[in-house]
Each structure stands twice: as structure tokens, then as C-alpha cells.
Symmetry: C2
Subunit: 252 residues, 2 copies
DNA sequence: AAAAATAACTGGTCAGACCAGTAGGCAATA
DNA sequence: TATTGCCTACTGGTCTGACCAGTTATTTTT
């Protein structure tokens, strides 16, 4: 693989894995070049790639910043091309969940219908990891479980679309985990829902899987809406997820 | 604006405006640099940006090529690995329709629920244009009608996702128009479906709108599948859609 | 203290060089 | 003749080092 590509992936992973939070400034190009032992030209090409993907935005004389997906009370009108759309819309979270409901439902349906034994194995593995993980730690196992199901759908377009929403997804999952999991009843309900999704897919019951998966997302959405109205939310909008994440030292 | 950005936009416009068709080879980097009077580094940065958006894919020693099927993605994704997935997979068309069924259904649902009077006006206008257009001419009015409904959903994420699939969409719509509309019964059925969708949205009947919209996409999908099995398809896979497009001079 | 010049960052662009795949031509060989 | 194989002229991939252009904090002036 071309180095520039490789670098762009490494940087993206660095960002997603919590090394850098949305809005945060990335190291300077010269620093990155030195750090990663490549020329600055390569760094610039990699950064442009991330820019094209909407992962970062760059400001002349200031630096490159991890794209802020969502609103926030933040500073200037710094808009990223794609993500600009979301600015100032606190509804975004629910908009996303609205779409997730559809797509995850379809994914579960197709997964139950088309999953190969290898797929089932992967899903099982992801589910096991999800069960064993401390629900309070982080959102990744949750996301992985859903992801495994999506991939088992064998619909590249679906995979592509959900992959494109990955960043947003992570934030919502994160938000839901942070807000919902601390409440025991919630945690249990969600756990049961995951289990039922898992079972439906394994049992190859498409309709059931779809129904349950949709209900799951709907439940999360409704629960968060309720919490938000009570004013007891830990995270109101995904932006702050990074902050609470930084406060939680148990990240991988 | 930074030159690299500007260049990337100019190149993208060049591609989308029909100067370059999917799969087609772009001029070499050195050529572009000379032609556009910028350094090769700038060209490379611009190309990486397009790469990140999934507009092009680049092959060492061969050149850069307009990505078959997609622009962006967004991302997400974006990038050649995703696009590669689509190449040569005739199933892609149906994969896309599978997703469209969900998203268009949801869009219609939300549109019926949330559309403002302005939205309704726009939809009416698009529908009128669709009715008055010669069905054989091109797919744009069809796409515009669906688009108007999507925008009326007032879900930026949904708009974003479907926008990212725009080119794919155009191809499938185009394919369906090319294959289905020449057959009178099909044309009539589809016309009736559009009408029912339109009426359901205008009458603010979310459930009905969703059901009809989903059935519509499903119908198109099934019909095309059937045609393809009969071997009477004009366009089998989206890839060739561009070719037929070039052959049809009546494009806007 | 306020204003202006400065210095030390940051990204943006350029030029030219060289490495590394690819493809076509053309000669030497079997 | 047909095949092999090299050579060459493409293509993108990377590096270097320079200079331009915004941003910001510091330091000098006033």
C-alpha cells in the first residue's frame, strides 16, 4: 500500500481510538513528518485524504483539527464541508438514530438471512466480548457487535453507508453508553436486547431480527430523549463525549 | 481558498459535468500540473482529496481513474477498497435498491409527517415536472421528485446519506428508467406509484407514504430482476449506464 | 500602557530529483 | 514462426529544501 494511504489510516485510527478528540488540534505537519519518518509532502497528501473524508479540517496558519461533528457552543464558524450540515442541530443525535433504526434493522434482517458460518462465528465472538466487557468502560465492543452484524448482511452498499456514518455512530453509541449504562435497569434492558438480536440472527430469523434490532435502536433513542428532558443526561450532545472520555482513564 | 482545494473541486466538476465518465482514465499528474499551471504536488494533494471522497481511484504506474459508481463517501469510508467492492458486482444494483427501499420509505414517512408548506410546494413542483416529462428522455425528473421528498424529511443525516449515494442513485434510476419505462405497463404502474406516494405525502399520511414508497422501490427492484433474468435488459449493471448516457444526446 | 515591529510558529506552494510499477516495442532466441 | 525477454517511455510514489503566507505571542518602540 502507498505510504500516504497508510499514513492516513494510521492518523484516522489515532483519532478514532481516542488519541484525539473532535475539535482537538493535530500535531503540525512538520512534527508528524518527523514523528512518522516520512516527508512532509506525504503527510500533506494523507491529510488531504482525511480532509476529503471529512475527518479533519485545516486552517492556514493555525493547524489541522479533528472535525467536530456536532454543534457545541464552540468558537468561530469553523465548518467542515460535510459536517457543516450538522452544526447547531442538537437534533442530529436523534436524526442519526432515526436512520440507524432503519439500517440496523435491515442489517439484522439480512444478516439472519445471509450470514455464513464464518459470519456467525464473528458475531458470536463480538457478542461474547460485549458481554464480558465492563459496560461502563467504552462503547467499542457495542459498536463492534453491531458492525459484525452489518458485515454479515453481505450488502456492500449497506456496509459502505454505515461505515460512512461510523464517526457519528461512535459518538451516539458512546453517548448512549455513557447515559444509559450507568442506570442498571437500562443496562439490563439493553443487554437483553442485544441478546435477543444475537439469538435471532443465529437462529436465522430475519423478520424477528429486524423487529428486535429496530426496537433496540428505538428504545435507545426514546430512553435518551427521556433522560435529556429530565435534565439528567451526562452527555447531552456528542461533543462532550470526548470530554467525559478523557476523564475516564480506562480506555484501551 | 487553497489552490489544492480549488483544483479538487474543478476536477470533480469536470468529472460530474460529463467530461469524464466512470471508469475513464484521468490525465496524468504531470499533464494536469502543466495544464492547470500548478505544481505536481498540488495536483497530488487535490487527487488525494478526491480519493478521500471516493471520486477517483489511483493505480501505481497506470494512472487515476474516475471511480465507477460513487463519489463520496462520504467516505467514508470513501477510498478505493470500498469502490473495488462494487466493481463487477452486478448485485450492487440490488444491494442499493435494498437500502433505498428502507431509506426512501423512511424519507416518505418523515416527509408526510414534517413537511412544511414550502416543502409541499417543492414536491408538487417536482411531481408536476415528472408528469410532464417524456418518460424516455432521462431520469433526472424522477430523481428530483424523490430528492424533494427526502429533503422534506428534515433529517440532515438522511439527506446526507442519500446525497452521498446520489451518483449511485442516478445510475439505478437511470437503469430503471431505461429498462422499465419503455414497457408501457411498467411505465403506467410506476406512474401510479409516484402518484400515490405524492398523494400520501400531501395528505400527511406517514404510514401510507412509507408503505407505498417502499413498495415502489421494491417493485422496481423486482421488475428489474425479472427483466434481467429474461435477458431483455437494456442496462444490466450500472457501469454501462454511462455508456448509454453518452449515446443519448438529450441529456440536460 | 498602548501600539508597532518582530520572531517563531502554522499551513500553502513550488521546483527538481529519484524510486517504482506498467505497458508496448523490438530484437534475440528457441 | 512464435516466444521470450529486455529496453524504454510512460505512469504514480516519495523525498528534499526552499520560499510564500497567515497566526500568534513576544518584544520592542512610542
Amino acid at each position: 500500500m502507498a505510504i500516504a494511504q497508510d499514513i492516513s489510516y494510521r492518523l484516522e485510527r489515532l483519532i478514532l481510538d481516542g488519541g484525539l478528540a473532535p475539535g482537538q488540534k493535530m500535531p503540525s505537519e512538520r512534527q508528524l513528518a518527523t514523528r512518522l519518518s516520512v516527508s512532509r509532502a506525504i503527510i500533506r497528501e494523507a491529510l488531504h485524504e482525511l480532509q476529503g473524508r471529512g475527518v479533519i479540517e485545516t486552517k492556514h496558519g493555525k493547524g489541522s483539527f479533528v472535525a467536530r461533528i456536532v454543534p457545541g457552543v464552540e468558537e468561530d464558524g469553523g465548518d467542515s464541508p460535510l459536517l457543516q450540515m450538522f452544526n447547531g442541530h442538537p437534533r442530529t443525535l436523534y436524526d442519526l438514530l432515526e436512520i440507524r433504526e432503519q439500517l440496523e434493522g435491515q442489517a439484522a434482517y439480512l444478516a439472519a438471512k445471509r450470514a455464513t458460518t464464518l459470519d456467525l462465528h464473528r458475531i458470536t465472538k463480538a457478542y461474547a466480548a460485549l458481554e464480558q466487557t465492563d459496560p461502563l468502560s467504552n462503547a467499542r465492543p457495542d459498536h463492534n457487535f453491531h458492525q459484525a452484524i452489518v458485515e454479515a448482511s453481505h450488502n456492500p452498499v449497506l456496509v459502505h453507508v454505515l461505515n460512512g456514518l461510523k464517526n457519528l455512530m461512535l459518538l451516539t453509541v458512546q453517548a448512549s453508553v455513557a447515559n444509559l449504562n450507568p442506570r442498571e435497569e437500562m443496562r439490563n434492558k439493553i443487554g437483553r436486547q442485544h441478546k435477543r438480536i444475537y439469538q435471532a440472527v443465529m437462529a436465522r430469523k430475519p423478520e424477528a431480527a429486524k423487529r428486535i434490532a429496530m426496537a433496540h435502536v428505538r428504545f435507545v433513542s426514546d430512553a435518551m430523549r427521556e433522560i435529556e428532558q429530565q435534565g439528567t443526561a451526562i452527555i447531552r450532545v456528542p461533543v462532550n463525549a470526548s470530554a467525559s472520555k478523557a476523564a475516564a482513564p480506562q480506555n484501551a
